[in-house]
Symmetry: D3
Subunit: 134 residues, 6 copies
């Protein structure tokens, strides 16, 4: 049960439409999804979150597909139904096969398990891991 | 403050040594890290967790480096200090550069933010995302 | 799918009715909501949780509206649908406007993001923050 | 154990210094704290997160002190030591007394408890809460 | 909205059927539940998770009923609807009464509250708790 | 780094001492631990939390040892170092052996893993689990 209704393009203010236009152009899609239509109730936040998504999720040192899979991993850990669906769809569009998705879920499950073993036993970090970026 | 001390190789039972040996051979490392030395207090669990790690984290549909980065993403979301250090080290060893790590952190932060926006506003899943694996 | 049905006033024991009566009198509402009707299966817990809610959520050093907004922030972070709905309603009743709600969501999203950056990078607490209450 | 060292002003690039300068001017402080000095390893992320913090945490429909307290509530829920310290310090500077902090902690504890009761019992949202923003 | 359909016995591969058979024989049930039918899309993961469940949840130092209740406690904390339902059913079958379930929920709520008080105030571990296993 | 110092018995107000006295008498211990000494900064909260702990953690439908183990399971899931140490100590005092603790950790790890598989795949609850308490 959404707390506020999505704001459709026709009902949007010029500032909101400008963000919608940029999302559609950047992603080459004919419409924006509900996430943005709900954030549109707060145009400043809409613009700010979109700026971050655009800056973070595009090309860079990591492949965009890898980024979408990381997004799914976090969303499954946090139990965000909307995000699991939307970012799994985005990852699929970028080339994630079902086999890749299943492995992703397996890593997420394993990491959630061992995170609790390490935290529960309060295991000391080994000296060789203290500067893990070298 | 670890709840139990690590069990070193020399003090380990034959069953535990067999797992240690397999970890060292599989990973081509001269010793196992504290995570395994602590799990060794429960040899059945040690063998079971290692079997899962070996099955899940090796080659497959996803690149092992991608899997390590997903592991880091989950561990940062869950605040597991041990796992952040150990899997960041593993990812670095497999080729993750600092620039890749920074992008990984940026995706993790963004996903944790938008997960709460989608959950907080209770946003409805769009029809086109309902079967996201196609 | 609720695990147990709500216990309506007419079907409640005298001990449960006494708590329901106090909730209705304190909040000036004609009926209690499902949360209490479900807890009523455990009358001791019902009385204990209500005692805590009554003690914590009333007037004090913080404004009751601020407390309701903090409640919503925690509930969005934890993904509690029931609590998001009920405490957003309570906050609205106490004066929270939609604009205030949108800013609340924006803070929740930002905090969830930067929490992971600080935890993920394991950032050291600056000396000036060590005694933050002065 | 921080994964990367903070980047001090003298060692920072012009782009990073520009963000540091804006943080110091906006907050009227003589130096930036470790959070920013660590993010500075990724200048794009540094600028993006600062833009969001500046947009979200300033004056608006909610009082800046209320926003800092919401930040602390989320950080305590997520167990972010750095954020608890830094945002408690920020809230104190804006007028939060110890008594207000104690009430904040009490609300956070209560919300975390009742979130699990509502989620654990899978309690149905009452009809009157379905459109909680009115 | 499940991301993949369950794989029924008749449509399953021999490897998947072997796991289904072992689950049914071990649990003395005439069919496997959806969790396994969904994992069956990844036969290696299906076998691995079942091996862990079989090893961990059976007889041992802890009573199987106690293990099921711990499972419910974790699932309520993490807000896993499927797991709350399936493991509450399993615990009931093993002898958990409604009164026991209510106490379980009360402990879960209390622990989630005090976890945040201890983490939020950053309380130092007392010397007598440093080696809690003696 | 605790945000406030513990309040020792000699420095406590009569209201705080009354709670300390009841804790010591109920638990048959010569002093209260840091958790209570920190909560004592908010005497109303101290009394309220203690009342809940006393009501919930004592004898009832569940064995007090089982309740302590559930507490440890939640605390490991939430990564509360203080609570892991203090409730593991309490469980040990009530009869939990190291072997029982290791099994407890194994169940916690498994539940955290399968919670994410069920949430990540969005698995539908089977009809036979819909009324899990019978």
């Amino acid at each position: 049960m959404a707390l506020v209704p999505p704001i459709e393009y026709d009902a949007a203010s010029p500032a909101v439409r400008a963000v919608y236009d940029d999302i559609m152009a950047t992603r080459k899609v004919p419409a924006v999804n509900n996430f943005w239509k709900v954030l549109a109730h707060d145009p400043v936040q809409l613009a700010g979150v979109w700026a971050q998504v655009k800056a973070v999720m595009g090309d860079g040192a990591l492949d965009p597909l890898v980024k979408e899979m990381i997004y799914v991993a976090v969303s499954a850990t946090n139990n965000c139904e909307y995000c699991i669906h939307s970012h799994t769809a985005a990852a699929s569009k970028k080339g994630m096969t079902p086999a890749m998705f299943h492995e992703l879920m397996a890593v997420v499950a394993l990491a959630n398990a061992t995170n609790r073993l390490a935290n529960g036993y309060r295991i000391d970090v080994d000296p060789q891991f203290r500067n893990p970026l070298g």
